[in-house]
Amino acid sequence: MTAYVIRRCLQAVVVTFIVSVIVFGLLHALPGGLVRAQIGPRASQYEVHGLEVQEGLLKPLPVQYGIWALHALQGNLGFSYKYNQTVGSLLAEFLPRTLLLVGSSILLALAMAIPMGLWQGKRRNRIDDHSLTTVTMIFYAMPDFLIGVLLILVLSLQIHAFPSTAANYGVSFQSDAADLVLPVLALTLGNVAYFSRYMRSATIDSLLEDYVRTAYAKGASPTRALVRHVLRNSVLSTVTLVGLAIPFILSGSLVIEALFDFPGVGLLFWNASQTRDYPILLGVVLVVTVATIIGNLGADLAYVAIDPRVRYTT
């Protein structure tokens, strides 16, 4: 167990290192170079050279990577000339919002999908199972931003329940909560199918297990068997799906943030890609990836910790 945890953590560190090399390499393979991206195509050769010296861009790439990585480890992810702020302070401002958005979306998706999947598994291949499948599949097949637009259409323009944009996010707690509703909902609906389909098959598998028959034999009511025995066992594997779903939900949040003008990391990243603000691009990808890796690691370790049947002996 301890060996597994250590090995798994080491693996996460290695993966993080490779990500940083890939992303750094990509950004430094740029046509035109970083300096041109910062001060524009009309800067003189002299200015370009000056900035290149100042930024250390004339050093060999591995050295540049070393310097950058050392700074990144110290929390210094560079400076954005477009925002005139450090990338670190921008992330400190934008990242918590995205984490809130993504986190509440995952929780909401689970809260919807677990009962739904349990119900569907119990009543598989009946009319209610099929109709729930159809509905979740349609949402699943929709692009996230289309779901968002439909929500705006119904909940914002028709019945004026929630604001159609989150651009003013950060004003007050009350308005923030209202601003969050549509983005969270839009991000959730497309992902419910992931979890509910998995929960459904986990339920079906659990229903065939001996312990369920034992529960019935002991005189447990169907509800009790379902909740105490089936639910508990199938929820485990479904919850661990969260770790693997994080990259997908974060990707979804990029689109949703762009749609709702939600001032999170996704919008920051998208704006940076439009203005070619490379320090931000690099910093955001790195931080978002590290968040993903930590999420995966957490899910894996939680799975081992929670489920006594899983034992990693190596």
Binding site: L146, Y198, R200, P247, T289
Partner: protein
Amino acid sequence: MSGGVPPDAGGGDRELLAGATASGATTALAVAGPVAQTGEVPARPLASWRLSLSTFAENRLAIASLLGLVLITAFSFVGPLIYKTNQVSANLLLQNQPPGAAHPLGTTTAGFDELGRLMVGGQSTIEVGLAVAVLSTAFGLVWGLVAGYVGGIADAILMRIVDALLAIPFLFFVVLLASLVRPTLWLIIIVITSVSWLSTARLVRAEALTLRTRDYVKASVGFGSRRTRILFWHITPNLLGVLIVNAGLKVADAIEIYVAMSFLGLGLAPPATDWGTLLTEGIDNFFNGYWWQLWPAGFLIVAVVLAISVLGDGLRDVTEGRLQRRLRSRTRFRGDRFES
């Protein structure tokens, strides 16, 4: 990432299949020697394409999906031959006209005929989907085979690279790449492929790891076959079923990513277009009341993705699940995105 998550129930099916074809390692040990001739003759292996076909034909939803996909593809590629419209130059005199006799689905803001526009957009969208599926399958196959079959340090290095790229939320990676290059059809294909091949590589590696212990592979090694021969004559053919299903689902994934890219402004530049761009334009204009610019593109995207999912589901029943089908009903669902 390499996960303690037991993937959606595929393992049981495969073991059963292995037993049925008497190629499981333990079974084969027992069968080795003269016992094989004198012993009980095992039931005729069920795994024939005829059975596969009938299993598939039973699944009416999958058949309907296949039909729908064929229709939509024909609509996009054959349609323009029948329904001829000007899709090259904008005509502002015709902009935003509601559906009518001259334009069954109205016109766009640039004055293009919407129905014709959907056909042209369908071409690039379907092309991207198919090309990404083919490229990422080919690339993932080679990568996964090398990792899974050669093993050792090569495996460790190759798979850590896959782990790393998979850990980057794919849309961030796509936007990063797309912001470095100007979007042309081929570059879009390459950009999407760069995130799409990863799960294929993992899948192939996992399959190759189990296949390399099979007896026919060992026998071939015993004959002195070269590695490439084993990989392409013994391992790859046995991967085909899984790969085809995977590739099919990749088409849907690629289209979804492409649509998201278009929404983020990284799609094709006019006069070329795609469904994602049309949908995005439709959204921009929807609030002006031009509903005909939104729904058709949205419908086509949802229909294609949905149909591919259902079809992939059906094909998966054929390739892996047929023996336990009755027991388990259809539970599989594009889980490969997560599992791998």
